[in-house]
């Protein structure tokens, strides 16, 4: 196995709101190896985006605060870096692509201008050389006529092309880690497939690690090597992708997988998980999933004691009193 690139240890992030303190991320730990893709899945508001923004140190502070934990990139704790040092990490070692390609590009500059700015900032290229690099990057992400497109403004491009431009921008400085925060949510399915394939290609070529944040299990199955499932600001299960899809351990993961439509089955209605995500100001006692769980809603232990995340030694871990690995 390749060496560890990013290691998150017991990360806790809280938000001060008018109604009280919200623990958006509570004791999250996982690691990412070189060339590996890790997917973080979970419902909206479960803390997956906050985790990724914490890695970039881009969470707005105040209202949010990192209470504890470590984020180690190549063994160095990013949380202890000065803002100046973070500037050289962002875009250079870690790059990020966002959910909404329609709004992720600055409307007043040509796409070339925006790629060139990143290139000039992090690489020793200036002027014509930087422009040549921008055209190369656009070619790499599969944009036709890159030398014409480089002079166009974002509003002249389609959603898929903009996302390609975003990827080109993120990859222009050869980052070691790419954080993709729901990169395909806003795109239609064919474009989605193309973008994901592009990411896989580039990952292989550059031996880059990808942290994929999504709630699309189809995307996870196709692209991730390892899956982290989050629920109510905690990790409830993590496992290699094959193992997770073959035998989900946590009732929540089981529910998620059961809710996927299966091609060819003649089911009338899809399975759902009853109830909705708990209010972060008012988490249920014990296991946070117990009110929605078929076992937990009857079990006294589930209702009073919070299950720890227990590892089994085969890179799998689950936080449930009733799960057997």
């Amino acid at each position: 196995m390749s060496e560890v690139l990013l290691k998150i240890k017991d990360l806790c992030v809280s938000f001060d709101t008018d109604d009280g303190v919200v623990n958006a991320v509570d004791g999250v730990s996982y690691e990412l190896r070189k060339g590996q893709s890790v997917a973080v899945v979970g419902e909206s508001g479960c803390g997956k985006s906050v985790t990724s923004l914490s890695i970039m140190r881009l969470i707005p502070s105040p209202p949010s605060k990192v209470l504890g934990g470590e984020i180690l990139l190549n063994g160095e704790n990013l949380l202890e870096f000065s803002e100046k040092k973070m500037h050289s990490i962002r875009g250079n070692d870690i790059a990020m692509i966002f959910q909404e390609p329609m709004t992720s590009l600055n409307p007043v500059y040509t796409v070339g201008d925006q790629i060139v700015e990143a290139v000039e900032r992090h690489q020793l290229l200036k002027g014509e050389a930087a422009w040549a690099k921008a055209v190369d990057m656009l070619k790499l992400v599969g944009i036709a006529d890159p030398d014409i497109r480089v002079n166009e403004y974002p509003h002249q491009l389609s959603g898929g092309m903009r996302q390609r431009v975003m990827i080109a921008m993120a990859l222009s400085c050869d980052p070691k880690l790419l954080i993709a925060d729901e990169p395909t949510t806003a795109l239609d399915v064919t474009i989605q497939a193309q973008i994901l394939e592009l990411l896989r290609d580039i990952q292989k070529r550059n031996n880059m690690s990808i942290l994929l944040i999504t709630h699309d299990l189809g995307v996870v199955a196709e692209n991730a090597d390892y899956v982290v499932v989050m629920y109510a600001s905690k990790i409830i299960e993590r496992a290699p992708v094959e193992a997770l899809f073959a035998a989900p351990a946590h009732p929540y993961t089981k529910g998620l997988l059961a809710s996927l439509p299966v091609l060819g089955s003649d089911k009338e209605r899809l399975e759902t998980i009853e109830g909705s995500v708990p209010d972060p100001l008012n988490f249920p006692s014990g296991c946070k999933f117990h009110p929605r769980c078929s076992i937990g809603c009857k079990d006294k232990k589930c209702q009073t004691q919070e299950p720890p995340l227990i590892e089994n030694g085969y890179a799998r871990a689950v936080a449930c009193w009733h799960a057997r690995l």
């Binding site: 881009l58 966002f98 992720s104 409307p107 007043v108 040509t110 700015e117 900032r121 422009w131 002079n151």
Partner: protein, 404 residues
């Protein structure tokens, strides 16, 4: 309103059309906007060329068989600097248009930055040299009497052959006539000449004051909007304190303490008028900092000044640009009011407001021509600035027009 067809032809249709291209396209669709802009350009031309339009010195005069150029000799370094600034401005504007049509966008930005840099250097060096080198000499020769007494055989005078400092006891308080188109004031100066020279004061007050308030407002607003939190809270309370101060009375008080100079008036109008701009920029930045492209710029590790002023400001500057055009009209009004009340520029330097106040003479007569012509000048200037501002606002955000 006559809608014009899209007249800007793109030489290279494959080059993208920038936001500013689209805004200017939209702006020039309305003939009212064009007319207002033309009038403002005309005012600027009048201000820059004031000494060539209204001057008691002839361009050329032949005295005892020798050709002399008293007008050019009498111009001060400031007059020449104004001319130089106008030339640099026009050249830069032409270069900008040329760039847009002929230069590939990939090198356009760098080229434009270089051109502006050269322009600014030329301007600064030129002004320094001109002010240092051009001697200011007083030429009190009455060339007109020389022409009349046949001492000089030949002379070409400007269209309005009077200086703004000219006084004449026998031509006091004369209504408009063939000799003095706009009449004369209580010391016998030609009103037309003083209106023309007064445009310099009004336009420079408008521009410098709004420039100062714009820079302060944008800077403080950007800091408030981007950082938010405590910084925003403290600065916002400061803005509110500033807004609670009755500005006009503050200006009158300050002007009473400091010497009556144009520069003081400009600075005071500027440093009291930034609160509106700061609030506009703050509101825009609060909205923009949550935008994905600002997050993306941060995620790319771009430095703070680049995020604030390169990525956020161009997207949030529109309301400030619009309010600046209204602000120019406001500053012209403030200067006119101050001068009207006698706190403004001191005579003989002409200013429209000051002339307006002389409409009622010391003898108690109402001299209508003394009030009408400067008043019309103030009115037309303010109206055209407001129309340009309105046109700009509609061009920047066409949805606003539908809502209105």
């Amino acid at each position: 309103m006559i809608k014009r067809a899209n007249k800007i032809k793109l030489m290279h249709p494959e080059w993208g059309r920038s936001y500013s291209d689209m805004v200017s396209n939209e702006f020039f669709k309305s003939s009212i906007n064009i007319a207002s802009l033309v009038f403002i350009i005309f005012l600027f031309a009048m201000a820059v060329f004031a000494p060539f339009i209204a001057n008691d010195k002839p361009f050329v005069i032949k005295i005892d068989g020798v050709l002399k150029f008293p007008l050019f000799a009498s111009l001060s370094g400031v007059d020449y600097s104004t001319l130089l600034a106008a030339i640099v401005g026009v050249v830069l504007f032409l270069l900008y248009r040329r760039n847009r049509k002929r230069v590939n966008p990939s090198i356009r930005g760098a080229l434009w930055a270089k051109q502006v840099g050269i322009g600014i250097v030329v301007l600064i060096v030129g002004i320094a040299c001109l002010i240092a080198l051009v001697p200011s000499k007083l030429d009190a020769t009455d060339y007109k009497s020389k022409l009349e007494s046949k001492e000089a055989s030949f002379a070409i005078f400007p269209i309005v052959p009077y200086g703004f400092e000219r006084t004449s006891i026998c031509e006091r308080e004369q209504p408009p006539s063939k000799k003095h188109w706009f009449g004369t004031d209580d010391v016998g100066s030609d009103v037309l000449c003083r209106v023309i020279h007064g445009s310099r004061i009004s336009l420079s007050v408008g521009f410098v004051a709004v420039g100062i308030s714009g820079i302060i407002g944008v800077f403080i607003g950007a800091v408030m909007g981007y950082f938010g939190g405590k910084v925003d809270f403290v600065l916002m309370r400061f803005v509110e304190i500033m807004m609670a101060v009755p500005v006009f009375f503050l200006i009158i008080t300050i002007v009473a303490f400091f010497p009556r100079s144009l520069l003081n008036i400009m600075i005071i109008i500027g440093i009291t008028g930034w609160t509106g701009n700061a609030r506009f920029i703050r509101a825009e930045f609060l909205k923009l900092r949550k935008q994905d492209y600002v997050q993306a710029a941060r995620a790319l590790g771009l430095p703070l000044h680049s995020i604030l002023f390169k990525h956020m400001l161009p997207n949030g500057i529109a309301p400030v640009l619009v309010s600046a055009t209204f602000g120019i009209a406001g500053a012209i009004f403030t200067e006119a009011s101050l001068s009207f009340l006698g706190f403004g520029v001191a005579p003989p330097t002409p200013s429209w407001g000051q002339m307006l106040s002389q409409g009622v003479s010391a003898t108690g007569h109402f001299l209508w021509w003394m009030s009408l012509f400067p008043g019309v000048a103030i009115f037309l200037t303010a109206v055209s600035y407001n129309l340009v501002g309105e046109g700009l606002r509609d061009a920047i955000d066409p949805r606003l027009r539908k809502a209105a």
